[in-house]
Amino acid sequence: MRPSPAVRRPTPAVSGLGRPSWLLVPAALGMLFILLPVCAMLTRISWPDLPALVGSPSSVAALLLSLRTSLASTALCVLLGTPMAVVLARTSFRGQGVLRSLVLLPLVLPPVVSGIALLYTFGRRGLLGHTLDVLGMQVAFTTTAVVMAQTFVALPFLVVSLEGALRTGGQRYEEVAASLGARPSTVFRRVTLPLVLPGLVSGAVLSFARSLGEFGATITFAGSLQGVTRTLPLEIYLQRETDPQAAVALSILLVAVATLVIGTTGRRRGLL
């Protein structure tokens, strides 16, 4: 396959049409509002100590655990969220609006509450706890619980951005594909998915970022143990108890990882 420069033409950055110059002021303020705290954090780092702080066994364990769990939860989000988005975007049924709002619930729930809700469901004395116990599965205090907590809070991001892409794209191509004899599965695989791939990727990146920063639901549902459930945000919060310097250094690490992932994926696909 040849790359196609024309599929997504570079936006001609010429005129200021639709961009009055006064708009630059609040835009710049917004940028500053985000950048300034990050810069302030950078000024507080003692750079000579950075390698030691970031390279400590507990930090490395937390980083690796965070990357592992965030990747796993992103994969789960894609596997579960894609069908959810397609069902929401491509069918209409009674109560669909209500269902969509419910799917978005984890966005508004305080993460700690999400953690409690998960506990009430999958915990030992939760709704499914007994069933899981009989099956020999105990979720609490395991890495699985971390992945579940992250998936719970990150799933809406994937569903929302993918459903948006599906709705914007419409069904024009799918109709043509069907009329050419393609079965629904073929249409999904060869037309729908490739066309919403940018939306899927940006949704996955958002989910990954949300998983990486997850704190409240994890600490409530999964606990905190080095190498098992203590992800980078939990480690940062704990380090802050005794060594704020280390906490800041680890935060820089988290910011760097997130920027790297979002930056590379986003820029390459020209999405974010």
Binding site: S4, R9, E175, A177, S179, R190, L195
Partner: protein
């Protein structure tokens, strides 16, 4: 018959009956909102009719009630290919893979599908575009590839929705010629609002208005002897409806239009009086002692029409020379008198 379909879609106010004989191309004409796209949607399997039955080469496509249970064949199993107004080429596939999509979906191996696709691209003079992405094609090129793609799916019925509407005037003739060849001996339904498409592509014409079939006949008959205002307009003819009385048609507004009635027309029958805008003479004041039909009105429109100028008063148009426009000082708002000789007016049953 290749296609027989009779159905209604309540939500869109459409109730239509269509037939397409083997190898025949049917043009569906009608003003905007007449229900043309709904008709194509029902045939393609994209819109579910409330009631009705449709068969293609004897196979049921849909049937809401004559049998024990409802029949609804999904779009992909109908062998009905749709070519839309805009090409809708899959943007992530090359032109070749777009054309190969149909054969691939129907089970052909990649190499065979591509071989077939190459053949179809050649048949629409687009072999050199095979490797391009849709975004690298012009409108005309893309529509040619879209035609090849529809044909490559080997449909038993081809549906074309305004296939020329999105094309430049400059490339439309070539596309029309291509379609003319492609549709020869192929069962097809072409939705169009362009009389030229109907005249050059279709064997038969159906005129839809307000969701109903108002005319159905051979293309040349409908265009030369229109029975509905819409077909008269696209055929470029004036048409006045009313009831037959003697050699005249009397309209609801009470206007008498004398003409040459067809044999067998009886007084009181619904009838139309049809005449060409070229047969209309235009005056500022009514000529005295004329045996002609006289229609008075205020000019609503003056616009160029080929080498002539088309003058419109409510319900009737006249084509005059630019010199006459200047001489009579014709402009919207001016009251004028149209006259037409009875010998120029055809009167036949509506």
């Amino acid at each position: 018959m290749t296609l027989q379909a009779s159905f209604s879609v309540g939500a869109r106010g459409v109730e239509a009956t269509l037939e397409v004989a083997a190898g025949e191309t049917l043009a569906v004409l009608g003003p905007n909102g007449a229900g043309k796209s709904t008709v194509l949607g029902v045939l393609a399997g994209l819109v579910r009719p409330d009631r009705g039955r449709g068969t293609l080469r004897g196979r049921a496509l849909f049937d809401t009630g004559s049998g024990d249970r409802e029949v609804w064949v999904p779009a992909h199993a109908r062998r009905v290919a749709l070519m839309a107004q805009e090409p809708r080429l899959f943007p992530h596939l090359s032109a070749l893979d777009n054309v190969a999509f149909g054969p691939r979906s129907q089970g052909a191996r990649r190499s065979r599908a591509r071989r077939l696709a190459r053949g179809w691209l050649e048949s629409v003079d687009a072999a050199d575009l095979a490797a391009r992405r849709p975004a690298q094609l012009s409108g005309g090129q893309a529509q040619r590839v879209a035609l090849a793609r529809a044909l490559a799916a080997d449909p038993e019925l081809l549906l074309l929705d305004e296939p020329m509407a999105a094309l430049d005037v400059a490339v439309a003739p070539a596309m029309r010629q291509l379609l003319r060849e492609a549709l020869r001996d192929r069962a097809a339904v072409v939705v169009t609002h362009d009389v030229l498409d109907a005249a050059l592509l279709a064997d038969r014409v159906v005129v839809l208005d307000g969701g109903r079939v108002v005319e159905d006949g051979r293309t040349e008959t409908v265009l030369s002897r229109p029975r509905s205002p819409f077909s008269a307009r696209i055929a470029g003819l004036n048409l006045l409806r009313g009831r037959s009385r003697g050699t005249a048609v009397v309209t609801d507004a009470g206007l008498h239009v004398e003409g040459m009635p067809e044999d067998g027309l009886r007084d009181g029958d619904a009838a139309v009086a049809v005449f060409s805008p070229n047969a209309v003479a235009v005056y500022r004041t009514a000529p005295t002692g004329s045996p002609r039909n006289v229609m008075t009105g205020v000019v609503t429109e003056v616009e160029p029409h080929g080498h002539q100028v088309r003058i419109r008063i409510p319900g009737v148009t006249a084509d005059v020379t630019p010199a006459a426009v200047a001489e009579l000082d014709l402009a919207p708002g001016v009251e004028v008198v149209f006259t037409v000789k009875a010998s120029e007016v055809a009167v036949y049953p509506a």
